[in-house]
């Protein structure tokens, strides 16, 4: 068996383990209504992947502008596409959790605002891409926009919330640390983060290969 096949099989077992652990291995956390705390194992990793994808997209954009190699443009576009998907997942899981905890799907908590802006940025990125027919120009303009967005996001995530008060439990969890949250919680969350990261890397590489084939077929015409 090839290494990549072993890795895929391992990822499957790992994710199954994470799902099992999320429901049977840990107890519902105190201070959370009902079983709602379990969603953290899926919500936090999807949010993390959407940010990771954003980072990958920005780094690829900078590399594209440096080298003008279309492959970096493919990477940036693919990572953004996945980022958009995971940002939607994070928003939906977050909204479900918010509904249970605070009785409202949406309340403009700074972190909700951040993910909403991330969604807007991804949407704008693809709106821009679809509005430029020339592939060289599209790649360059999209890369520039990704970098501009990359500069903006820290202000949204770090500076804006300093002025506003946050409802979000993550900060509370961080403050209370491992005392209230048993260590099993941390284990499963970390395992889930690792699993989702692996999932992202895998889907990302498939998507990149697909896009490369698509582009090669276009170039065969040329």
């Amino acid at each position: 068996m090839k290494f990549s096949n072993i890795a895929k099989f391992f990822l499957l077992v790992w994710m199954l383990g994470v799902i099992w652990a999320a429901f049977y291995y840990v107890q519902p956390a105190e201070g959370f209504i009902g079983q709602s705390s379990r969603i953290v194992f899926f919500h936090v990793p999807t949010a993390w992947v959407s940010v990771l994808a954003f980072l990958v997209s920005c780094v690829s954009s900078i590399q594209y502008l440096r080298t003008r190699d279309p492959e970096h443009d493919i990477r940036a576009a693919v990572a953004s596409r996945l980022g958009l998907l995971f940002a939607v997942l994070a928003t939906v899981t977050g909204a479900i959790f918010a509904r249970i905890m605070w009785n409202a799907y949406w309340n403009w908590d700074p972190r909700q605002t951040s993910i909403a802006i991330l969604l807007l940025i991804y949407a704008a990125y693809f709106a821009l891409r679809s509005a430029v027919p020339d592939p060289e120009r599209r790649a360059a303009l999209a890369a520039v926009y990704a970098i501009l967005a990359f500069v903006t996001v820290p202000f949204l995530v770090f500076v804006v919330p300093r002025i506003y008060w946050s409802l979000h439990p993550d900060t509370i969890i961080n403050v209370r640390g491992a005392n209230d949250f048993d260590s099993r919680y941390t284990q499963v969350l970390l395992a889930s983060l690792a699993g989702f990261t692996g999932l992202f890397v895998w889907i990302n590489s498939i998507d990149c290969r697909l896009d490369k084939i698509r582009r090669r077929r276009q170039e065969e015409v040329l």
Binding site: P133, D134, P135, E136, Q218, E219, V221, L222
Partner: protein
Amino acid sequence: MGDGIRIEFSEVGKRYDERVIFRGISGTVKPGSILVLTGPNGSGKSTLVSILCGLLRPTRGTVKYLVGDDEVERWEWRFHLGIVAPAMALYEELTAHENLRFFARVRDLKMDDDDLNQILETVGLDPRRTTPVVGFSTGMQQRLKIAQAMLHEPEVLFLDEPGANLDPGGQDWFEGWVAAYAAAGGTVVLATNDRREMQWGMNRVELAG
């Protein structure tokens, strides 16, 4: 005019998504010569001109500006070229004089009003005219575009259907002017389907439809 610039392009191709404009176009233009680009409407003559003057990147292939064996960097091309093309307009709200003064200022040329008036007279425009370009006939606009292209005395001249809107007298004058420009060591790329203009140059690149 310096040493003159040689343009070499090889295997140039351009594609917009699924649509291929052209592919595998190669050629060389030496100082003192005129390269004629021909091809039916929609064959990509103007696109190729845009690629050769650095306004557009080719999907495939390379374009080089060479002085002897030294390559001129892409961002410096604009200092060495002038262009007259139907798709490139001047500022309609400004007068002929204001247009030229603007282009002289952004090119950092030390030219006073007399110099500009001189150029306007050379191309056959009245320098005292103070109406905005929007009121010009297409032939007068063409003359002003020619004035704009020769303003900074470039080594390379791109002409896209230059005689299209000129009267017979203007065409004769311009043909003579381009011949003199090439004879003085200028490099000329001429995109045209006009039978008379096609005779200006020896080298030819034909684009298929």
